[in-house]
Amino acid sequence: MLIRFKGARIVDPGNIDEEQDLLVKNGLVHALIDPAAEDPEPEVETIDVTGMVLVPGLIDLHVHLREPGHEYKETIETGLRAAAKGGFTGVCPMPNTHPVNDNAQITRFIVDRAKEIGLARVYPVGAISLGLKGSTISEYGDMKRAGMVAISDDGRPVENSQVLRRAMEYASGLGLPVISHSEDLSLAKDGAMNEGIVATRLGIKGIPNAAESIMVMRDIAIAELTGARLHIAHVSCEESVDAIRHAKERGVRVTCETAPHYFTLTDKAVADYDTNAKMNPPLRTEADRLAIIKGLADGTIDMIATDHAPHSKLEKEVEFDMALFGIVGLETSLPLSLKLVQDGVITMETLVEKMSRNPAEFLGMDNRLIPGNVADITVIDPDRCHVIDPATFVSKSRNTPFSGMEVKGDVFLTMVEGGIVFQRS
């Protein structure tokens, strides 16, 4: 059976940006043809996507699926359902599950479970250190064979620089990139939000920008020393963007991501102690928000990831200091990111680079929409206006600061290997 996407603008960075009809057959991209052309075969299922934007499937390099261990927050199944609904055909779950993904058995469990579910591809990130304790490195080789794509101790930095150096050297030999959660724990100690006037007013202990940028600089220095491939996770502040920009100019192999909340909100969102605006790194000031946008525009920031971090009410409907860090993001990322295009900050093509092409290349995949490649596709309806309503989320958790926000543009359809995994009715 041939599927024909009719009438869309196809945006595939470096390949094509024009109105074409895309044909999918047997799970693969079959051909791109002129919209006026006849169906090449008699049996064709046509999907009318006139006025929409068809792009290679979005990939989220930074999610928490919580399984195994914290299934009351999210399962691989509910997380992948949220991914499909958010337009993501692939996600990279971080290793801070329980038990930690620091060995091939856990990696294999995640990969197998994801395959059974099949809603989106899962590329697990394994732990840099056993138990995320920052002292002994994990069996990266064994885990890579089981499907691991990168290493990270996300949620915790590797404090000991020698351990990080060894991890980078060892991972390099296996062709694995290192994803760093850059945070100086002594500077961030007991902090629950950005350090500054809002924190002072609310009486909440602050986390200064330097807690992030110091470790970004250290991680870059170790990457420079080892030649390893370094990716800085969830960049939130101006000093980090500057440090990464300078490193790139020097030719260091460093990439980075930010998340939609860092270019959409500031620490003012915490006012009245909203625990749904509590995440790590924290929401920063307007100057930082603008620096993140600038970094996205000038190419310093390569990717937009969500840091999808589901938490239940048990962990969020508590005192601000006690609430856990993190917000869900899979179902709001695309609409929030489309605003950058609507505001003229970046083009649609650049957005697709940051949400699809660059993550794919980071994972060593060719996801161009060319005949013979796997048909992982996201169709975006750029005009659909809606109000973000957590009640409509398919994720198990509802911890978002974006409830009630009006957004324009949304996912219309998500296809994985030629199969429709989500379609808006």
Binding site: I197, T200, G203, D272, Y273, L314, V318, E319, D321
Partner: protein, 312 residues
């Protein structure tokens, strides 16, 4: 004129009119504590829960005495006597209390914003008796009352607050309260104790104690918490006392009619010397006395009383 607030959570949410009304009401309450029979029936049949999750002697006693002088029934809950130690969340504890129909819940809690969290979820009035390092509105109000009593006004006065501003809910509430009522507030402390952006609350920052006491009408010394020494805020108590302690020598530089305040408990010999604490300029015990009247006024107002207290 009626008092419109259900809760007293911080000074920021009170208007100048609200604060004036509270101070006037408290002034009227003072006389009750001087009667031979220190009790009026005003809040008879009302239930007040004193829910203190952090240790407190003076604030809790002050609230308790205030409740009893108005004939309200007060019950005390501490962290160890509540189900918090059994793993109950703050919201569940508040809902459980709510089910017993109290009229007022007085909450002290170690986390900033805790009273705000429960105020939204209970029908009872919530009075913040100190939350984390955020606010201590009743302390600020009784300080305003004590200054007004001594100086006859607040507007135009110069108030200097010296001590750990970073970790002080008293400082935050007083900076906001005194500024709101027309005073000029200056704070001074070692750099480790001045939080970023504090000027945006309306105060100035002085580099040393001497430059902010010479023209001050009010000098408020804050308690140095010894347990904070491990967070590297100051090298030794000796050094702190030398640089930022208020002693008689230093007090000579101040105006003769400057008043000395301290929210207590005192660390004699550290932030304040014996002679200064017990000297003529000190209003430290007036603060405690006024605390009872002020808390009586708040109970009365949030329970629906009008401004006119002549009938009590």
């Amino acid at each position: 004129m009626r008092f419109e607030h259900k809760d007293i959570l911080d000074i920021e949410s009170l208007s100048v009119q609200d604060i004036s009304m509270i101070l006037d009401t408290a002034e009227g309450m003072k006389e009750i504590s001087k009667r031979p029979v220190k009790k009026v029936p005003t809040l008879r049949g009302k239930t007040i829960v004193l829910f203190f999750q952090e240790p407190s002697t003076r604030t809790k006693s002050s609230f308790d005495i205030a409740a009893k002088r108005l004939s309200a029934d007060s019950i005390s809950l501490s962290k160890s006597s509540s189900s918090i130690v059994k793993g109950e969340t703050l919201i569940d504890t508040a809902r459980t209390l709510e089910a017993m129909n109290p009229d007022i819940i007085v909450l002290r809690h170690g986390c900033s914003g805790a009273p705000h969290l429960i105020a939204k979820r209970v029908k009872a009035s919530v009075i913040n008796a100190g939350d984390g390092i955020h606010a201590h509105p009743t302390q600020a109000l009784l300080d305003l009352m004590s200054v007004k009593e001594r100086k006859g006004k607040i507007e135009g006065l110069k108030v200097s607050i010296i001590g750990d501003i970073s970790h002080s809910r008293v400082a935050r509430s007083n900076i906001i309260g005194f500024t709101k009522m027309g005073a000029t507030v200056t704070v001074s402390a070692p750099g480790t104790m001045i939080p970023r952006g504090i000027e945006e609350l309306g105060c100035k920052v002085a580099p040393d104690i001497d430059s902010c006491i010479d023209d001050a009408d009010v000098i408020m010394m804050l308690r140095i918490q010894k347990e904070r020494q491990e967070s590297i805020l100051f090298p030794t108590e000796r050094e702190y006392s030398n640089l930022f302690g208020l002693n008689s020598e230093r007090l000579k530089k101040a105006k003769p009619d400057a008043i000395i305040m301290h929210p207590g408990p005192l660390n004699r010999g550290v932030e304040i010397s014996n002679e200064v604490a017990d000297g003529n300029n000190s209003v430290i015990l007036d603060q405690v006395t006024n605390g009872v009247a002020l808390r009586m006024a708040l109970f009365y107002l949030v329970a629906g009383g009008s401004r006119n207290v002549d009938t009590i």
